[in-house]
Symmetry: C2
DNA sequence: GCGGCATTCTATAAATCAATAGAAATTCAG
DNA sequence: CTGAATTTCTATTGATTTATAGAATGCCGC
């Protein structure tokens, strides 16, 4: 055997293509989130990367491909977190809490990819949209199943509409997510607590 | 007195400028809803009206003005409906029901102006955005006050965060609204029932 | 029918933008 | 150092788009 492969043993002094491309996707996410897909220009993205407009095409075949990549990125971590939570041994209430927390946190910490997925994905042509749709549906179905399980357990009314419940949780989180991005003062921990409580028990209204 | 004003007594054989402009705003709303503000062209709007691109400028000084008008239109009816409901003698639960119903219905019936307001208003420059912001806030505050009143009545926990509650109801309705527009099969009456119940009592989860 | 006003059209200016081709620069192994 | 591969740059093309100016058309009262 010859000496160990320098690629894996040498300290990396230069970013790989994949790493630089990942930064390009993040830059695209940021710009798309701020100005929308059509409102953003390839120059905006290039500027954020410190390269020229034309150079961007070394990483993307088209602006459209950049949007698709942003959407794929957004869903990857998002779905992964959901898988971790639903397969854990937490109680139902705790799972909901973690799901909401993970969802809201991603708006604060991550990049703006999730917002771009929510707001701009419909501007993708059919074919590209289909490709990312699967992951989005998977997320919704996992949440749906979580509710469904709870109905079978008897800890939720038998007539609960689990599709409605799942979609509502997602919608609520996305609505607050949009606000979280725009208002740095919003406290994710506090919102997580309030959203989970609301989902499970509403605002506790008592008939007078 | 001379003969009665023909404008008011004669059967209208021709649309007034205001009416035609209103149709232009509706066309803009429709196109903006479908393609987004930046993705829509003035030609798209003109096509939907059956006029030429240049002729559109008889009704708008700019594309930007068209977007502002769409947002103003969206909020006018929206705020008006809220005023009617909150000032009525309905019970709290009924009011929430009507508010949700009015909100969701507007996505089904009206034009797509409300969706445009939600998704595209941030692309307006500061000054124009400020002008429409007031109406949006008014809606939220009215809803907030409704919750606040209920806390004072003692039919809701004293520590209820009314701002959170109001924003959540709006967010939930907007999330479902976006789905309603895309899926004609969704039943607004059914969704209204489920959304109101969820807001008031959550999904009735019982600790096992 | 005529004069004036309202409405729409044609044609075009000016700016912007995505995408490409090929040259330059950088990096790196031998 | 040298040559090849990678990465970035320059320069440009072609298409699109907003907005304007001025001409043409339609409409209405008289």
């Amino acid at each position: 055997m010859t000496s160990a492969n320098p690629v894996t043993t040498t300290i990396q002094r230069k970013e790989t293509y994949a790493q630089k491309r990942a930064r390009a996707i993040a830059a695209a996410a940021s710009v798309f989130a701020e100005r929308g897909y059509h409102g953003a220009t390839t120059k905006d993205i290039a500027d954020r990367l410190g390269i020229r407009q034309g150079s961007l095409y070394y990483y993307f075949k088209s602006k459209e491909e950049a949007l698709e990549e942003v959407c794929i990125l957004a869903l990857r971590d998002y779905v992964h977190a959901m898988e971790q939570i639903t397969s854990s041994s937490l109680s139902f209430g705790e799972k909901i809490f973690h799901i909401v927390h993970s969802h809201l946190s991603s708006y604060r910490d991550d990049n703006e990819a999730l917002k771009v997925h929510n707001d701009q994905r419909l501007y993708l042509p059919e074919e590209r949209r289909e490709r990312i749709k699967k992951d989005g549906s998977r997320y919704r179905v996992m949440l749906e199943d979580l509710f469904h399980q709870e109905v079978l357990n008897g800890t939720m009314p038998a007539d609960t509409d689990c599709q409605f419940a799942a979609q509502s949780v997602i919608g609520l989180c996305n609505a607050w997510g949009a606000l979280i991005i725009r208002d740095p003062l919003l406290d994710v921990e506090d919102l997580t607590q309030k959203c989970s409580t609301m989902v499970l028990n509403g605002f506790h209204h008592q008939h007078p």
